[in-house]
């Protein structure tokens, strides 16, 4: 007899391929199937030219989760196209070659980035402005005939612009 228990909560993350960080997350509780595609009506709707209207489905068979491809562009795990495959506690898959990257997770597992090196966050370079140099450059421009002329007419220009609409 096939076990008919309900699945534990699972999450699906749309992942930024450069940083490994989630862009969007969907949570599903006690749901035996999760449909993914471009069309409204899917549980996960992703608007992307690589994604078919009905592209893939996560199915819980009573024991474990399987990923099923439905789309013509294919569903890939580690660059290999799949048709139906059992998936682990954490699985990365892509909708079409070069398409959106998704990460499936069972509940209770914290989202981890793809690459621990990517976790490192570098502080930005300090922005230092040479105020004397800035004032000197600004003054040279502001004292020009053209800038003086423009300052004089800028309010008229903007007024004309708003009147002409």
């Amino acid at each position: 007899m096939i076990p008919n228990r309900l699945p534990e909560p699972v999450s699906l993350h749309l992942v930024n391929p450069d940083t490994g960080r989630p862009i969007q997350t969907w949570l599903f509780e006690a749901q035996k199937s999760v449909r993914i595609g471009r069309a409204e009506g899917n549980d996960v709707v992703i608007s992307d030219p690589s994604v078919s209207r009905f592209h893939a489905e996560l199915q819980f068979n009573g024991v474990e989760w399987e990923l099923v491809n439905l789309g013509k562009n294919g569903t890939l795990i580690s660059s290999h196209s799949i048709s139906r495959v059992k998936i682990d506690q954490q699985t990365l898959f892509r909708l079409g070659t070069g398409g959106p990257l998704l990460r499936f997770e069972r509940s209770g597992e914290a989202f981890d980035t793809l690459n621990t090196v990517m976790n490192a966050v570098a502080p930005p370079q300090p922005i230092q402005i040479d105020e004397c140099q800035k004032e000197s450059q600004v003054r040279a421009i502001v004292e020009s005939d053209y800038f003086q002329h423009l300052q004089g007419i800028s309010s008229k220009l903007r007024k004309r612009s708003s009147e002409s609409r």
Partner: protein, 254 residues
């Protein structure tokens, strides 16, 4: 509405043209009539993003500046570049390109032109094409055209990279824009390395320039790979870069 939006940067290579194309396209997709003018007469480039090739019969901004045609005659209708779902809607997108012919560029640099013609042209364009938004893609740096664009704009975006080569010049540009009493100004920080602390960078930029940051764009390999062969946000509608473009576009349309 006819709002004029200028996108400017002190240095070249900040990604200004890509951002202009993406922002204008996104606003058009929201159901608006939008035009982009490429005023970077010295090194025009935004036409490449829309696949516009050299055509001897096509008018361009140079022809308008030389008095050969009305500015609206130089407008290319690129509405077909928008997704199919926009076709038949009020959305419209036009591009007024600058000439890519070396001779034309050399001539206009040598002879110059009356810059005030540009401001008349912008207003005429808004009227003739019934525009909701006119985006001006400016030449990098401070010159008469860029100052004019700043002076006439309803909103100015200054694009910079988190790079020392951009910091000082951006400070000059922001100060000049204040002196010209630009109505609204915001910064767009582009090409941010993936490992950089984005919130920390935003806080620092806003503090140093005393100007709000409207968008923070991370350097993305997909954009490098597209290599300006198309408008990025149309190719990658779900990408984080596109999400940030949409966020900035919402601020424009507010």
């Amino acid at each position: 509405m006819g709002r004029i939006i200028s996108i400017h940067s002190f240095r070249g290579g900040t990604g200004k043209s890509n951002l202009t194309a993406s922002l204008a396209t996104t606003v058009a997709c929201a159901g608006h009539r939008v035009a982009i003018v490429d005023t970077d007469i010295q090194s025009p480039g935004i036409h490449v993003l829309f696949g516009i090739k050299d055509d001897p019969d096509r008018r361009c901004l140079n022809d308008f500046l030389w008095g050969r045609c009305k500015i609206e005659d130089a407008a290319c209708d690129v509405t077909d570049a928008l997704p199919a779902s926009n076709h038949g809607s009020p959305s419209a997108l036009f591009l007024i390109p600058s000439s890519i012919k070396a001779g034309d560029i050399a001539r206009i640099l040598q002879e110059g032109y009356e810059v005030s013609i540009l401001s008349d042209g912008f207003l005429q364009l808004v009227k003739a094409l019934a525009l909701d938004y006119l985006f001006i893609d400016t030449h990098p740096g401070v010159n008469e055209e860029t100052l004019l664009s700043i002076a006439i704009s309803d909103k100015l975006f200054v694009v910079l990279r988190p790079d020392h080569q951009d910091f000082q010049g951006t400070a000059v540009t922001v100060e000049l824009a204040r002196r010209l009493q630009v109505a609204e100004m915001a910064l767009l920080v582009n090409k941010i390395p993936a490992t950089m602390d984005v919130p920390g960078l935003r806080e620092q930029v806003e503090r140093v320039y005393q100007t709000p940051v409207a968008g923070m764009f991370q350097l993305t390999m997909e954009l490098v790979q597209v290599a300006s062969s198309g408008v990025f946000c149309l190719r990658f509608p779900s990408h984080p870069f596109t999400a940030e473009v949409q966020s900035v576009a919402r601020k424009i349309m507010r």
